[in-house]
Symmetry: C2
Subunit: 337 residues, 2 copies
DNA sequence: TTGTAAGCGTTATCAA
DNA sequence: TTGATAACGCTTACAA
């Protein structure tokens, strides 16, 4: 069932069917009766034009690739939703790719995306440190937008993780904390490294030295937060507050603290990062930093769409920075005396 | 940059380039040196064949659509990941569509998916009650697989929610509970309705009447679990146990109970459903039913791929049922006396 | 072993 | 206002 069949059934030429189905601004020249006849046939046989043929001809697929580490990480679903909603509004389809921060998987996906000739790609997290992404898209004029800070020559949507973490530390020192432990994350994530950097810088600014013993690296999953918090809390002079690089580890940490007989926040205060949807429903409700992931996804898609319209031109690797907010809830208090 | 350019640069014909790049089992007839020459050019210029053209010709896009209500619902990410991993292994791309259980959005996405000529579609949750999905795909020989119970004539991957909920109720009555409250979900979800049905049936089987006052409907989000649990717990003779139709509402319920000064499980036992990743890290750790969503996604994709291979033939609307397991953790105890 | 050319389902150009 | 036809980039008979 193709445009020729429809044309035959309606007793017109394929050109006419095309004009009815894909009206161009300039040429509104189909007689109402003819249009009617065509539409009737289209409706009767349930014909839908083949977008592959259209894309081939117009060199435009109306599809974007969304590359991220792992959709199972609760940080990403709102971002994906933001991209998807904006894409759907703007008339684009979204192809999802989970890389697990793995170079080989990333390379394979990039290959696939280029072969399908996606109009653009949104890279969120993880892959942004991979140099392989630098030039692959160039010959195909594939537009790229990055979500998060990165080392690539593409425009991006960001959040100031250093400053946000500074606000967290400021809040804690304001409460009187001096021994503030940190549950860090993998070096492969620039986002996480910025949070670590924010922790360091703020501590220094507050006149508190950076103490290596108070920092341990997790893998961003709940269990590692549980493990690391357990170690940190078991130290001879334990920290009076714990900050985690993300909420998943913070939740794990809260469990560990509770299991160790420690009360949050009476014995140790706890702060997370991301403001995942469950954060406000655990008890004590988790104090954390809200990151506008949904908006970031939407903004990335919109930025991409704008680049499509502008057509050629250089990418302009500027960054748009959205703001975070510290969500003060119940998991922090003054340190025990 | 197309196959002709490559052919010219390598001093061969386009047919030869094609044969090198897309070797068919039958025709291994390219001289090694020629092949070498072609591959060198391909590598040098970074050429990637246009899959649109290939798809147009072969009537096969190697793409599947994944239609679900909302990726932000923590139930879905593992399912999506399961689909994606299997798809990537089998050589398929995945196009994501969030319908919000909305008829119009669903219709729009279905339209888009058909226009891109996806080889198949995986429908997970929500949309399965929509009659519009019955015949749309037929004329395009688009294969369809459903995840979850449904009313459509397609094969599916399921889980026995009625039996699983029966196990939950059995566990609670075994503990001595008689007044078991239920936080239900929207009627639009067959999955959720099966859980409600399981609750009813098991109660009846246990010789406990179904008491309308103990059942209230939520919307599957945390806040509604919080609200509904609050109402249920405020009743003159409050339930000694609460079962939620999903974990998100269970977490909200736990917060409500805690805020009302009730202890879980000493004063009221609580059971969730889904075994979301955070469930085992909240305290008390949530007793819940583990649903193999990742495997379900993978199985759906594999089933779809098998249908592609088999080619024509009738769809065979059979169901493959995977099993759930009750995860007994800390949120249940015998009822208070 | 390689090349020529038809054709996949559209849109766009030009003529009628 | 409509129609014939050449592309788009690839694969695949068929010919050489």
């Amino acid at each position: 069932m193709n445009i020729r069949d429809v044309a035959a059934a309606a007793g017109v030429s394929v050109a006419t069917v095309s004009r009815v189905l894909s009206p161009k601004p300039g040429s509104q020249t189909v007689r109402p009766e003819t249009r009617q006849r065509v539409l009737e046939v289209v409706d009767r046989v349930g014909y839908r034009p083949n977008d592959l043929a259209r894309a081939l001809l117009q060199d435009r697929t109306a599809t974007v690739g969304l590359v991220l580490p792992d959709i199972s990480n609760p940080y990403y679903p709102p971002l994906v939703r933001g991209v998807e909603d904006a894409a759907s509004t703007l008339g684009y389809r979204v192809m999802l790719c989970n890389t697990d921060r793995d170079e080989e998987k990333t390379a394979t996906y990039v290959d696939t995306l280029i072969k399908t000739r996606v109009d653009g790609i949104i890279i969120a997290g993880g892959s942004t440190t991979m140099p392989m992404l630098r030039d692959v898209f160039e010959p195909y004029r594939t537009k790229v937008v990055v979500v998060g800070r990165h080392e690539l020559e593409y425009p991006s949507i960001q959040v100031d993780n250093v400053a946000a973490m500074g606000e967290v530390i400021g809040y804690l020192t304001g409460l009187g904390h001096r021994r503030i432990g940190f549950i860090a994350g993998p070096a492969s994530s620039i986002t996480v490294q910025d949070r670590v950097e924010g922790y360091r810088a703020a501590l220094r600014a507050a006149g508190i030295g950076y103490n290596e013993d108070l920092v341990r690296e997790g893998d961003l999953q709940e269990q590692s937060g549980y493990d690391v918090a357990g170690e940190l809390a078991a130290q001879p002079t334990r920290p009076t507050a714990l900050v985690a690089a993300n909420d998943r580890m913070a939740v794990g940490a809260m469990a560990a603290l509770t299991d160790a007989g420690l009360r949050v926040p009476a014995d140790v205060s706890l702060v997370g990062f991301d403001d995942v949807s469950l954060a406000s429903y655990i008890r004590p409700a988790l104090t954390t930093v809200s990151v506008p992931t949904y908006d970031m996804g939407g903004a990335a898609m919109e930025l991409l769409a704008r680049e499509f319209e502008e057509g050629g031109g250089t990418p302009e690797p500027g960054a748009r920075v959205l703001s975070t907010t510290l969500m003060v809830r119940e998991s922090c208090a003054a340190p025990p005396r």
